[in-house]
Symmetry: C2
Subunit: 179 residues, 2 copies
Amino acid sequence: MKLQKLYYLSTMKYDEAKSKFLETWGKLGSEWGINRTMAQIHALLLIAPEPLSAEEIMEELNISRGNVNMNVRELIDWDLVNKVLVQGERKEYFSAEKDIWEIAKRVAKERKRREIEPVLKVLEQLSRVEGDKKDKKIKEFANKMGELNNFVSKMDKSVDTMLKADENWFFGSVIKMIR
Amino acid sequence: MKLQKLYYLSTMKYDEAKSKFLETWGKLGSEWGINRTMAQIHALLLIAPEPLSAEEIMEELNISRGNVNMNVRELIDWDLVNKVLVQGERKEYFSAEKDIWEIAKRVAKERKRREIEPVLKVLEQLSRVEGDKKDKKIKEFANKMGELNNFVSKMDKSVDTMLKADENWFFGSVIKMIR
DNA sequence: ATAATCTTTCAATAAATTTTGAAACTTCAA
DNA sequence: TTGAAGTTTCAAAATTTATTGAAAGATTAT
């Protein structure tokens, strides 16, 4: 039993490899605050050579129609998936953005907008806490909020830079400068 | 009621500011796959001028002793918090790493080790799927896994670079090169 | 030793999140 | 129109994750 597993460490059959990928991508998603099923649907569409229908997604992942609908909608909202009209078919089909750099950019853009930007607004506000600046805890609080704001805002700006940058920024030569 | 909120947009009293921070940091944590309470305890220790005891954390956050114990242990495990002996006191006190660059590095290091590295191992394996390379879906699968592996591994290496780099890499001038 | 103080554990419980599936809704062809 | 084919919605159920709190385990002072 253990031996069999070791054997498959070097090569795997397609079906096994596929479910391993769906499982892995789903787990990664949930560790980073993305619904596991959403990540799995994304994984499935990512490796599908052709667009898939809701039916097909239901069957592949053993999930309900409602669940497919909600998560696909969310993926469309993130601009990672789009509806595809297949000629002569009434059903809707779905396909995922296949370019990894694009995927990374869209995820970064969305998380920045939804999660980082609101935090920045709050931090900026908190660094202007009112009160006796001689009070150690108040002074330190304001300082800490200022520091955090500064840090998160630098992160945020770096993400902006990345979003604007050509893919080459990352895959190409510029990255070597900071190695 | 709306007016009052608007007033507080410019300045806030310390206690309000503090709970806003605890709430915000906790929410951010949970959006990124970190337990909300763990993030709140971290936030609390981050702004505390002196180390806090389990009792104090319990009271500040209205949570149970067991919850404090588990989450503080986890924070210690992440190397974000450490036990402090206060002279003449039997109780344990806790304090957080206060340097933001250090915090970022330790979080990055931990998530990389726990979440990214295992995924890399799987992707590498999956890119060597066995089967008929003439089969479109198998060929594309292997390609996609290779691409993903390549991408995630570049990300991973960039994090390594960051971890080894001086704080200056980020706060200083090099960052301007890629702006 | 014994007791007092503090910490840890973990089964039970609560809370939050995800999923289901059937009904309502939409669209389109005949 | 009507109904067949498909999509969406959302309250209820299932599942997952977090929290409690009391008992057991440590540690130190007396």
